[in-house]
């Protein structure tokens, strides 16, 4: 019987179990801790096995540096780590640093750690059951460490009740492993459930862009690899690398956006806001780009000791990071402004294929069923930005790639170049108009189909946006200033950005605690719902640290006007008119997609057309 009101010191075991509640929330978090340990140990190979969603067994084996018998004893103790050299938590260069993981897991499960230190000739094993450690014993094991966690949460039945189905927990763990695998292309990863391997990422060498894209392709899919632009920017000691999907290759959710800070996967509202800001012109509100960004910052620039599972970090200068992300994304996207997603052309070709499928031609090249893949579709003139556009098979299938390349025709269809004057133009020369809606133009090695309305709309939109950016946004002063009640913190956040908002035509002032008063609004919005607008922006500042609604509203007005002010489908165009449109598209940034992320033109390579006819 415990007496109420008397303060007692908790036992070591209880302390560990409480800590475990924060660190080991579910099997996936145990997996995360263990895989991070493996990576911190310099592993080049990490094999993970989860049985019954991790409840029965979690096993993580690596070929890292391993531990000696003395180290093993300490390793399972709480607050024991080899990773924290200085004690002020400023320079943290490893994934882990608190020395809590093994002790926490050990307090809620049966934990077995077997390890052989590099250079040592014997392996040792230590076992921990529900927080009670046993003596270190000799064991047989290769280089590296194997950790086995059995009956997770057996010691904390409360947590056990909150476990989801084995499948759900397995999925979570797989997600964690994929994130880590993105950040460590140098290490090979396998994940299995004891019967079969469900995820396999072979090591692809260094951290260089190519290797990284290769790894991202394995995880995010081959299409991502074909539709990504490389990000590589540096500013004031911060380095941002990674790959961002083209706007035409977008998704319905934002779940495929990954940010890594010093190799550590983090979920951060900063990323969401910056990404939406950068893509704001190219995508409809409900579409989200796919991307993986790797931010390398000096260890003292970031505080990772904010969240028990380290899912959030804090930057010393968040504005700098946001600026870097937005500007480098925008820069990369403008450079790729003319690269519509290859999936578009791939889909077009796919739509043409079915007639052939019933009657496969005898001379189809090996792997011919793969030809509906967007192989080589991306524009050659931008090929430099798409280093992997042509390579569609991963390493395990490398022999296909090589045999395929043998089938390349030795002669390129160059004769066309002579008779078209527009060979120098990336979008070629207009050859005609189909259904008074689509412009067909011939280029040196293929043809281009342009949606005339979408293309012209984008051109008008870009022009309006430029005009809007060149001059100040005209503001209508309000006769009846609108008072908007907000939460105190939201109001403060909004006021902090007042200068930025004023540049976009919205003048807000603080109005006591928890309210703002709107004095002037952008004149082009007319008689608008000011309260709604301000509330939306306050929410966005909270969620993403970025107020996009206003910009989007202005963009919407421009978009509507652009739609009305542009050439409609159904209008006949003369050849000079069509050519003028093509030339303007070449000169205008971001003309490869319309305001909603749909492509404005599709390019079909001659080689692909030849394939349709079974000529290759």
């Amino acid at each position: 019987m415990q007496q109420a009101g008397i303060i007692q010191k908790l036992s070591e075991r209880t302390i560990n179990r409480i800590a475990a509640g924060e660190v080991v929330e579910r099997p996936a978090s145990a997996v995360k801790e263990l895989v991070e340990n493996a990576l911190d140990a310099g592993a080049t190979r990490v094999d993970i096995v989860l049985r019954d969603g991790g409840r029965e067994l979690i096993s993580v084996s690596d070929d890292g540096c391993g531990m000696t018998a003395d180290e093993l004893v300490l390793a399972v103790e709480r607050h024991a780590t080899s990773k924290l050299a200085d004690e002020d938590l400023v320079n943290i260069a490893t994934l882990g640093f608190r020395g809590e993981a093994l002790a926490s897991i050990g307090s809620v499960a049966h934990l077995t750690v077997t390890s052989r230190a590099r250079g040592s000739d014997s392996a040792w094993v230590v076992q921990v059951d529900g927080g009670k450690g046993q003596a270190v014993q000799p064991a047989g094991h290769g280089n590296g460490t194997r950790i086995e966690v059995r009956d997770l949460f057996y010691a904390t039945p409360a947590r056990l009740k909150f476990m989801k189905t084995a499948r759900a927990e397995y999925g979570q763990a797989q997600d964690v492993i994929k994130r880590l695998a993105m950040a460590y292309p140098g290490a090979a990863f396998t994940l299995g459930d004891g019967k079969r391997t469900t995820f396999k990422a072979p090591a692809v060498g260094s951290l260089a862009g190519d290797a990284r894209l290769e790894r991202l392709g394995v995880i995010l899919g081959r299409e991502f690899r074909d539709n990504a632009v490389e990000i590589n920017a540096e500013r004031e000691g911060l380095k941002l690398t990674g790959f961002a999907g083209l706007p035409t290759y977008s998704r319905g959710t934002s779940s495929q956006q990954y940010l890594f800070v010093n190799g550590r996967p983090v979920k951060d509202r900063l990323l969401l806001g910056a990404v939406r800001g950068a893509y704001q012109d190219f995508l409809a509100r409900n579409r989200h780009p796919v991307l993986a960004l790797f931010l390398d910052v000096p260890p003292d620039f970031v505080d990772v000791n904010v969240h028990p599972a380290k899912a959030e970090v804090r930057f010393r200068d968040a504005g700098l990071v946001r600026g870097l992300i937005v500007s480098s994304l925008r820069h990369a996207l403008s450079a790729a402004g003319h690269r519509a997603s290859t999936t578009v052309a791939g889909a077009a070709l796919g739509a043409m294929r079915p007639e052939n499928l019933g009657n496969p031609l005898p001379w189809s090249p090996p792997g011919g069923e793969r030809t509906s893949l967007p192989k080589g579709l991306s524009d050659a003139s931008f090929a430099s930005q798409a280093p992997y556009a042509g390579q569609t098979y991963d390493n395990s299938q490398a022999h296909f790639t090589s045999s395929d390349s043998l089938m390349q025709p030795s002669a390129r269809p160059v004769e066309a170049e002579g008779d078209i004057g527009g060979a120098d133009y990336p979008l070629g020369t207009a050859r005609g108009q189909l259904h008074a809606t689509y412009i067909v133009s011939q280029i040196a090695d293929g043809l281009i189909i342009v949606d005339q309305h979408a293309a012209h709309e984008r051109l008008v939109y870009e022009r309006m946006k430029k005009a809007l950016a060149d001059k100040k946004v005209a503001r209508q002063v309000l006769l009846l200033p609108e008072v908007v009640e907000l939460e105190e913190t939201s109001a403060a956040r909004l006021i902090a950005r007042a200068g930025e908002l004023e540049a976009m035509g919205l003048v807000v002032e603080a109005f006591g605690d928890g309210a703002v008063v709107v004095r002037e609004v952008p004149a082009m919005l007319g008689d608008t719902d000011i309260k709604g607008l301000v509330r939306d922006m306050a929410d966005e500042l909270t969620d993403m640290d970025e107020a996009l609604s206003l910009k989007e509203r202005l963009g919407d007005v421009c978009g509507t006007m652009a739609c009305h002010g542009s050439v409609r489908a159904g209008r006949r165009l003369s050849v000079p008119e069509m050519n003028a449109l093509l030339r303007e598209m070449e000169a205008t940034p971001h003309s490869g997609q319309c305001n909603h992320g749909r492509p404005t033109y599709v390019e079909l390579k001659l080689t692909d057309i030849e394939k349709l006819f079974g000529r290759r």
């Binding site: 005209a474 309000l478 006769l479 009846l480 006007m561």
Partner: protein
């Protein structure tokens, strides 16, 4: 079971099932019965049938096409084109002694009009308002229109050789808007009401979130020269304020906000009537009575902002000029502004007003106008559309603009009509 063959058929195919038919305890699905009877030959003779139907008439009247059209014109605009409650698409017809009452409503406004007609059988029903209106509109001028309804049938509309049958719904389901107790009553001449509405309604806000601005605020204002009846409308960018001499009985009335739709309906009716309009109101409803037409409307349940605070006092820079010249010049220079903002810049210096518009796309425009202006030079920007809206309301030849500085509200006033005043907020370009 013995039932007249035609009756059963009607019951099966029409939408009414006569309760007495069911009451007999015959349990035969209507569709089955219909199918059987359709295969039999109709034993009833045409004449017999006619006679039978005469007995079953529940409403019948004839009315001259033009007066029917006029009435329908008055009531049908209240009816929304799309309704979630089907009966709201209908107009209610109630035939009594030599008079038919037409009622239409959208649950916020009801318009009722009584029209003389040759009523043969008194009764009532509701029919789709827009359909009936379209039919009557297309009938030839001067035609006699007969509307009749037999029990269990559709409404028959006959004119000349045209014959229509319209689906109808029973009158009992039609929502009746009761005006309730309207303690305040006064009379306005139709020109006075017209003036109040016309000069204020352009400034009504269309933004639904500030619902309390979606109408004209009608209230009693205490001025230097005693009390006046005042109408105010604003959308937060500009404001219109019009006054009228206090009518008898209006003293002590609550300030009310007339919804935009009601304002539109009343304005339409005002044009067609001369003489006085009876207005009675409580703090939730208002009723306008023209000769034979009544409009009952809910009022906007909200508080109109204290607009008097935003009407500036002491704007000392006076610009006086010919209203028509001003309006034409604004209209001309604003041609150049292609974007949505439509801003025009006014530069005033001794007796000259220069209007200018700059558009990055299309170029620039300037126009110089002679004006009466003696104060210090001033530059100020306005939305040209707002400026034109106001200038259109000014009936006199000349307009007086009272300015303070480029950020502050500006007053525009008709020099002939001191009782109307407009406030406009500048734009910052």
């Amino acid at each position: 079971m013995r039932v007249a063959h035609s009756t059963v058929l009607k019951q099966c195919s029409g939408q009414w099932i006569r309760p007495n038919f069911i009451d007999r305890g015959e349990v035969i699905p209507a569709q089955v019965l219909g199918a059987i009877l359709c295969t039999l030959k109709n034993p009833a003779q045409d004449s017999q049938r006619h006679k039978y139907e005469e007995e079953r008439q529940i409403m019948k009247f004839t009315i001259e096409r033009n007066s029917l059209l006029k009435t329908l014109n008055h009531v049908q605009s209240v009816v929304e084109r799309r309704n979630t409650i089907p009966i709201l698409s209908n107009v209610m017809l109630e035939a009594s002694d030599d008079m038919v009452a037409f009622t239409a409503t959208d649950l916020d406004i009801a318009v009722i009009e009584n029209t003389p007609a040759n009523v043969a059988v008194k009764g009532s029903i509701t029919v789709p308002a827009h359909t009936l209106h379209d039919i009557v509109r297309k009938l030839p001028d001067g035609a006699e229109v007969e509307l009749s309804l037999a029990e269990g049938e559709r409404l028959t509309v006959k004119a000349g050789r045209s014959r229509f049958q319209l689906a109808c719904l029973p009158k009992e389901d039609f929502p009746v808007m009761s005006a309730g107790d309207l303690p305040h009553r006064f009379k306005l001449m139709s020109e006075e009401l017209k003036r109040l509405i016309d000069k204020a309604r352009f400034a009504i806000s269309t933004e639904e979130t500030r619902y309390y601005l979606n109408g004209i605020y009608l209230h009693v204002a205490e001025g230097d020269s005693g009390s006046n009846l005042r109408a105010v409308a604003t959308d937060g960018h500009r404001l219109a304020q019009v006054e009228q001499e206090m009518p008898d009985g209006a003293m002590g009335m609550p300030g009310v906000i007339l919804p935009r739709k009601t304002v539109g309906e009343v304005r339409k009716l005002v044009d067609e009537f001369e003489g006085g309009v009876d207005i009675s109101l409580s703090d939730t409803k208002v009723r306008f009575t023209f000769d034979s037409t009544t409009v009952i409307s809910k009022l906007i349940d909200g508080t109109f902002p204290d607009y008097t605070r935003v009407i500036p006092i002491g704007n000392d820079k006076m610009l006086e000029m010919d209203c028509k010249v001003f309006a034409e010049a604004v209209d001309r220079v604003s041609t150049i502004s292609s974007d949505k903002t439509r801003s025009v810049k006014l530069s005033m210096d001794s007796d000259v007003l220069t209007l200018s518009v700059t558009s990055p796309d299309s170029g620039t425009a300037t126009e110089e106008v002679v004006a009466g202006y003696q104060a210090d030079a001033l530059e100020i920007g306005f939305n040209s559309r707002y400026l034109l809206d106001i200038l259109q309301q000014i009936e006199g030849d000349s307009v007086q603009v009272q300015l303070a500085d480029p950020q502050s509200p500006t007053i525009l006033q008709d020099q002939l009509d001191e009782a109307a005043l407009y406030v406009l907020m500048p734009m910052r370009v």
